[in-house]
């Protein structure tokens, strides 16, 4: 959990009146995004976010440690999502294989021929740019559900391996395996995008 999230959790639990508004504002967005990317329906995601907040506040007296607030909230959200049972519109469940996610070696097996896009050209503010937000959003949606859940909790929400494991009721080893494959799949998608972008740009330059 990031320092900002921890500050929000501490203020909420200390009973600071501004802590309530701050928490609601931050988590209704986080919960909506998580549920939307997990279940794929806007309506369901709005409901999950609201139901989760209701449950959180109804049981808030049971929570003492600000460190465990975020994983506790997401555990409730995960269960609310499961209760929606509507079939996700995103990628169907399947295993991601490591072999498909590594860069390919040349036909002779020489690693020098591995093709990796030129990532040095990635703009510093890429995370704020809408074209990158769109491509990352698409890449996340294309992941099978079990991998998507892990990348949302570990990288997007920055929960620890142990926290993500407790939210999802799986082992830490499984969190690590799925996270790595999900990251490789995302990297591959971005790599493809960067390559086509730079090729387009260099063509524009050469055709002046």
């Amino acid at each position: 959990m990031s320092q900002t999230d921890l500050n929000v959790a501490e203020r909420l639990l200390s009973g600071d009146p501004e802590g309530f508004d701050e928490f609601v504002e931050s988590y209704r967005r986080k919960l909506f995004q998580y549920s939307f990317l997990m279940c794929g329906h806007r309506e369901d995601a709005e409901e999950v976010a609201q139901e989760t907040l209701m449950r959180v506040f109804s049981n808030l007296d049971q929570l003492r440690d600000p460190q465990s607030l975020k994983s506790w909230v997401f555990r409730i959200a995960k269960n609310e999502c499961l209760m929606k049972r509507r079939k996700s519109v995103f990628a169907p469940e399947h295993e991601l294989s490591l072999e498909d996610l590594h860069p390919r070696a040349g036909s002779g097996g020489e690693l020098q021929k591995i093709e990796i896009g030129d990532w040095s050209g990635l703009p510093d503010d890429a995370a704020q740019r809408s074209e990158y937000r769109r491509i990352i959003g698409e890449a996340i949606r294309d992941l099978p559900e079990t991998y998507r859940a892990v990348i949302l909790l570990r990288d997007v929400e920055e929960l620890t391996t142990e926290e993500a494991a407790s939210v999802l009721d799986i082992s830490t080893d499984l969190v690590k395996t799925r996270l790595h494959r999900a990251r490789l799949a995302l990297r591959q998608k971005l790599d493809g995008y960067l390559r086509s972008e730079f090729q387009r740009q260099s063509e524009e330059v050469s055709h002046g």
Partner: protein, 85 residues
């Protein structure tokens, strides 16, 4: 440089970046990487891709929260606080 070495390194790069590997495995990876340009390139691209995902905020945002919902939540919050004391 054998292809197998790179594959072995690739498989552990997330744990390496997350500092979840024992020292010995880190040293092994660093030794391999110091001598393997494609692995360095791959590691950098993975690192940048993870950075882009951190705190990712999708273009779809929730609708504003209705006032009555916010008030209900505030009521539950006050009740829970009172119970805790």
């Amino acid at each position: 440089m054998a292809n197998d070495d790179c594959a072995g390194v690739f498989a552990r790069l997330s744990e390496y970046l997350d500092r979840e590997l024992p020292d010995l495995s880190c040293e092994e990876i660093e030794r391999h990487i110091s001598d393997c340009a494609p692995c360095v390139q791959f590691l950098e691209s993975l690192r940048k891709s993870i950075d882009l995902t951190r705190g990712f905020s999708a273009e779809e945002q929730p609708s504003p929260m209705p006032d009555d919902v916010r008030e209900r939540l505030r009521g539950l919050f006050e009740t829970a606080r009172a119970r805790k004391r």
